[in-house]
Symmetry: C2
Subunit: 424 residues, 2 copies
């Protein structure tokens, strides 16, 4: 059975959301992704429990094999470089400078394997004045104008609920790795690729940028759920008896269909409301009148009625509704699994669909260090004795084994956790 | 000069944001992207003017060559299939079914070129019960839980300002194309790839999904700018004299640094506020007290002060501030250009950075049909006479030329514009 990245080996040093999403997409496209975690597990695994990080961890780490390695020891570093020599890709999303402090600079990796694709992602990138600023999803949303362009005009701006900065960076990173692997097929050389969260978010501002230029800076930056140019009406999220429905009328025909479907004879007859311009001039009144009628329906009733009448609309789905969405389950993009650690949960497969290929069998996220022995034996041909010795460096539990490396270790500065790219 | 996709030819039938972002990333990675528009131009080009679509059009269509072709004529379709025979990739984001109605089904494309990577994206995908639902950025945000998880708990939910659904789909599509091109180097076969906007958005719900499962459905879905688990404090967007600043305290040390930097001796001494738990129990009071102090600073003063004191934070940048961001300009990810049609504007380059390669020279978005003649001559070896004849079909202006194809044309149903994947 063949998938686009079958036969490609990825060493995955990533954490939290950004990097792990890139390697999730690699794994679900057929790559052998080896997730290498520090002895205690990566941040997201450690964070599980009350904060609800188990589900994101399961979701982002499916189809990966897991091993532990203490990169702060010389032995751990040596094992990593042996793995690098036989790998195709190494991915990390540490804060800039961390890999260098671990003695794993680009030059060191490249020396171990000139064909390696070395991919990294951070909040602001490896160069430039913001390089060392703290990068979480919220701070990047603040820095990129996402927050300023979200919310109601009479309230402070508000973050986008989803972790869009993290995930946008992750999928860009996947794209960069894929492009570099393609290029390597032709050139034989490995490339070093980088994605910054801030740069990955910028293009999503398209409409805000357009309005800013188009209005010479006079357009409002936040319009709630109304059209960002305030030039379509009705265009809003309207109440129903059990939730909300987004309704969009792009033209007079949509308006006519809408008021007819809702039985709003007065609105239909109102001479002021026959044009988009007229409706926009009376936006508060129109929104209130439409909202008063929509509130009499349930969300599902109203959606069915308007779709039947060809009015563009969509229910505002709650998270539990999305988890159980019949369309996503029908397409196989969501499925129920019995996770060995987390029980019965819904998990997504990759949004990338390759027609005619059998779908990757879903392998739930693995326990910490689950495949350490198998990987070291299979990739490096290590004997059980060597693995036992190495696993002491891997687990970091056996002090004596690590202490013999203290001189080297002291040369490797401790990675600061303060500004690591912990996000969300 | 070599870039990852140098030598790769992409036929680009895309429109608005989603598909054009995928092909923008291809173009900026070295591919020869031929943007094929209907005689009047694609929707986003046509929309320019008051609505501020010029800037998004310029941004998403840089480094592409442009030609027009009327795919509703048999001659236009024939020219396209000749181009397909010599291309590597064809990308489109029409509503599902449109390509089939144009007589350009997957089977027809594959027959013209078995090595073609055929990539498409739509709101909900080519299969499943939602296939034909109207898909704009707002409706997909509604359907995927983005709106429900954004905003203040005491107000209706609100859309994310940025066009995140469109752009997320676009970059996933780029990733799928890149993976398929890689696979083709090994298998010799072209693949058909698909991305739905809804599926591309789902993973960004990670935190909301985690909270939902972690709290057995009891967690609030909207917390404004507060921590989504309501389990960190201070964690919010605070007022300054000229805007807002996002501040995050992940632990007691951050809290101590913050109150010390702000000179809040009473807060520092308050026994109730010595633990995260205690601060969360008094969240309204803490947020109000911190906000009262932050309001005395300017945004820049406060950011500089807190960063110096190692408190994670970021200014809530306005769109004009982002356009002029010194970091993005220093890294070369934003630049000022003199656009032949739109004047002096700031444009982004691809977020994908390939180290050691010379950056792609930036070519501003081209005028409608600017390269039609050059492309037909160079790719199909058409003579000036043939180009003149074809350009009548391309422009759709010369009725007589098109009328000779009416019998075929009548068999090709008109593409419905109502539910085409116009987004945002």
């Amino acid at each position: 059975m063949s998938h686009p990245f079958s036969g490609v080996t990825v060493l995955d040093l990533t954490q939290i959301y950004n990097g792990p999403y890139a390697t999730f997409l690699m794994a679900q496209s057929g790559a052998d992704v080896i997730k290498i975690e520090p002895p205690g597990g990566e941040h997201l695994r450690k964070r599980q429990g009350a904060s609800g990080a188990a589900m994101p961890f399961a979701m982002l780490n499916a189809n990966k094999r897991t091993m532990t390695l203490n990169l702060k020891t010389e032995q751990g570093r040596a094992v990593l470089l042996q793995l690098v020599a036989k790998a195709d890709v190494l991915v990390e999303n540490y804060a800039p400078g961390v890999m260098e402090r671990l003695g794993l600079s680009e030059a060191v990796l490249r020396e171990a394997n000139p064909r390696l694709v070395y991919a990294s992602s951070s909040g602001y990138g490896k160069t430039g004045p913001y390089r060392d600023y703290p990068a979480m999803d919220l701070t990047v949303q603040a820095m990129t104008g996402v927050i300023d362009s979200t919310g109601y005009p009479d309230r402070p701006p508000v973050k986008a609920g989803p972790a869009m900065a993290d995930l946008l960076a992750g999928v860009h990173l996947f794209g960069a790795i894929s492009a570099a692997l393609f290029a390597r097929e032709r050139t034989g050389k490995g490339e070093t690729v980088e994605v910054s969260m801030m740069e990955a978010v910028y293009p999503t501002l398209a409409s805000a940028l357009g309005l800013y230029y188009g209005s010479a800076g006079t357009a409002p930056m936040r319009t709630g759920n109304r059209h960002s140019g305030m030039s379509l009406c009705p265009y809003n999220v309207y109440p129903t008896s059990d939730g909300y429905l987004a309704i969009i009328t792009n033209n007079d025909q949509h308006w006519n269909w809408l008021v007819e479907a809702l039985g709003c004879k007065e609105l239909a007859a109102d001479p002021r409301l026959q044009t988009v311009k007229g409706r926009c001039e009376n936006m508060d009144e129109v929104d209130a009148a439409i909202g008063a009628v929509t509130a009499r329906f349930t969300k599902t009733e109203l959606f069915d009625l308007l779709i039947k009448n060809r009015v563009p609309c969509a229910p505002v789905r709650t998270v539990p509704e999305v988890i159980n969405d019949p369309h996503l389950h029908a397409r196989g993009s969501l499925q129920w699994i019995d996770h060995p650690e987390y029980g019965r949960i819904v998990v997504p497969s990759s949004p990338l669909r390759f027609a005619g290929e059998e779908k990757m069998p879903y392998r739930p996220s693995a326990a910490l260090g689950q495949d350490t022995q198998a990987i070291l034996s299979e990739r490096l041909g290590m004997t059980p004795a060597q693995i036992a010795s190495s696993s002491r460096a891997s687990s970091g539990r056996v002090r004596s084994s690590i202490q013999s490396y203290t001189t080297v270790r002291s040369a490797i500065r401790h990675c600061p956790s303060r500004f690591s790219n912990r996000s969300t």
